[in-house]
């Protein structure tokens, strides 16, 4: 195949970016809907089952039509699935208020920064090792070109992801400060302290994976760690411990329950986004859920088996000759990401919020020593076995 021209590279890049964005923009509202339903079911109720319209406008005429047909005017099919559309429409059409004393430029910049940091990470994540499929030959310009599993196959992908993901905290801190209000400010300060604290064990928990794989490339790391090629069978131990440390830190990084102190509503109204409304608030919301997906993708790729069936480098049990189960698949990756997202919601339905000192205790006294011990174990296994 001849090397791609600049135009072709740009076109393929744009296509891949749009494809990933579409998937994420569908997944985020579905995730909010799943959150309502899963928490509802876990608390022995039903969650959102119906969508009712308003008293004016389009939905009102729909309602009247349904009354005229002798039906109760609520959309309740698929156990309330229309709710996720209604949620998105509500966020987009709501009035966007900027407080009079707020710093307008920073106030607008903050949610953008948050969302860009969350979405930029998706560019370095590989959803499939190598080429997913080739574009049809008959298409002009891009005919026959490969559709890669990653938008950008960055050589130091892990560093890129960690660096960009930690930019997201700027959005929260800047937004909190620019609101010119005490509760957002307190929430932002808490968030900064929390994310700075948990960045350390998060990175330390990923280092065993880097040591065992011997590379920083996202795709190569994932393939080596899940197939376990060139790795001792004992490598399961640091990967297993690392998975739990990483997911715990991931909960804290994404400001999710039980570490959602920045938005502790009993103390801080709604935390850093108290003054935000409309689509600016929607951006923060979007960024939080996108971050959840990113954390799930990383946990899946490095610890949970990536594109292969079995987690923690146990894939070597299944030889590559077995059809489907022995081969990498996009479906395995998505299934595992969905499972981890379910765990995120499941934990939210179960655990209450930690107190602030408890949060710092967990981070500094337990997770950092534990991840250092884990790093030591991984290093010993790498060089002794």
């Amino acid at each position: 195949m001849p090397p791609m021209t600049l135009l072709q590279t740009i076109a393929m890049g744009l296509i891949q970016i749009v494809a990933v964005l579409i998937v994420v923009f569908i997944m985020v509202p579905l995730l909010t809907f799943a959150e309502r339903k899963v928490i509802g079911y876990a608390q022995v109720r039903l969650g959102a089952t119906r969508t009712a319209g308003g008293r004016k406008g389009f939905t009102a005429s729909l309602n009247r039509g349904m009354w005229a047909m002798g039906k109760v005017p609520v959309l309740s099919f698929f156990r309330g699935l229309p709710v996720f559309v209604a949620d998105a429409v509500k966020l987009i059409t709501k009035e966007d208020i900027i407080p009079a004393k707020a710093d307008r430029a920073v106030f607008t910049l903050a949610p953008i920064l948050s969302v860009v940091a969350a979405f930029g990470v998706f560019s370095a994540i590989a959803y499939y090792p190598g080429v997913m499929f080739y574009m049809p030959k008959s298409w002009p310009l891009i005919g026959g070109l490969p559709f890669n599993g990653a938008i950008a196959d960055v050589n130091v992908g892990l560093l890129f992801i960690l660096g960009l993901a930690s930019v997201g905290v700027y959005g929260i801190v800047l937004g909190a400060w620019a609101s010119n209000s005490k509760y957002p400010l307190l929430g932002g300060l808490r968030s900064a302290a929390q994310i700075v604290s948990y960045e350390v064990p998060l990175t330390l928990s990923l280092l065993p994976a880097v040591i065992l794989a011997g590379t920083l490339n996202f795709k190569d790391m994932s393939v080596i760690l899940s197939t376990g090629q060139g790795m001792s069978p004992l490598a399961v131990i640091p990967l297993f411990i690392g998975f739990f440390i990483y997911t715990t830190c991931g909960f804290a990084e994404t400001n999710r329950v039980p570490f959602d102190l920045p938005e502790a509503e009993t103390e801080l109204v709604a935390g850093f986004h108290t003054e935000y409304s409309g689509m600016k608030f929607g951006f923060f919301y979007l960024a939080e859920y996108a971050n959840m997906i990113v954390v799930s993708c990383l946990a899946t790729a490095f610890f949970f088996g990536g594109y292969y069936l079995l987690p923690f480098g146990l894939q070597r049990i299944i030889p590559a000759s077995v059809p489907f189960l022995g081969h990498p698949s996009f479906l395995f990756f998505m299934a595992k990401v969905s499972l981890l997202l379910f765990v995120f919601i499941w934990v939210r339905a179960t655990l209450p919020r930690y107190r602030y000192d408890q949060l710092m205790d967990v981070g500094w006294k337990y997770l950092i020593p534990l991840s250092l011990v884990n790093l030591f174990i991984a290093a010993v296994i790498r060089y002794a076995f």
């Binding site: 079911y41 876990a42 022995v44 109720r45 039903l46 089952t49 309740s76 156990r79 179960t350």
Partner: protein, 169 residues
């Protein structure tokens, strides 16, 4: 020991097991129409599915008849006397072949009723009851004056407005 307990979060796992158990139960019962009778969740999908009410729910006042179709009320006026808002008005009358007095008129002003059930408790003949009907809204004030005659204001039949609420017993 405390360190080990912190490192291995058994209580978190127990909590997750509990919520997971309930999630599974509700998930597998709520989404299948066939097992509607054994639903595990507490949410009542009211307009579509009739509400499950407690047996002692206090709905609208209803006059009862016995097996022969005779009105059980004997006009002792106990309910009229005990009613705190005085919504019951009874007019005594006589009927051929009946020893006890017979209510010629039994008026019930529902707009003032507070549904306290004193009337039912005071009744020595079990001749009135508060049924399980709670959809009692109406467009006209006259519709709240119930008596022994008429269709929509009949003290014997359940109100025709209540499409979805259970009106039995």
């Amino acid at each position: 020991m405390r360190l080990l307990k912190t490192l291995i979060p058994g209580d978190i796992a127990a909590g997750l097991m509990l919520t997971g158990k309930y999630f599974g139960k509700v998930f597998f019962s709520a989404n299948r129409k066939k097992v509607r009778a054994h639903l595990k969740h507490f949410t009542q999908e009211y307009p579509e599915i009739p509400v499950r009410l407690a047996p002692r729910f206090r709905g609208r006042l209803t006059l009862l008849k016995d097996e022969q179709g005779e009105i059980k009320c004997v006009c002792c006026l106990a309910c009229e006397k005990i009613c705190p808002t005085q919504v019951i008005t009874i007019e005594k009358g006589k009927m051929e072949g009946r020893k006890m007095p017979y209510p010629v008129r039994y008026d019930f002003e529902m707009e003032r009723c507070i549904f306290c059930e004193f009337c039912v408790e005071s009744c020595g003949f079990d001749s009135i009851i508060l049924n399980h009907q709670f959809e009692l809204a109406a467009y006209n004030r006259e519709d709240f004056s119930l008596g022994m005659e008429g269709l929509g204001q009949n003290m014997f039949a359940p109100s025709p407005v209540g499409k979805y609420s259970v009106a039995e017993d």
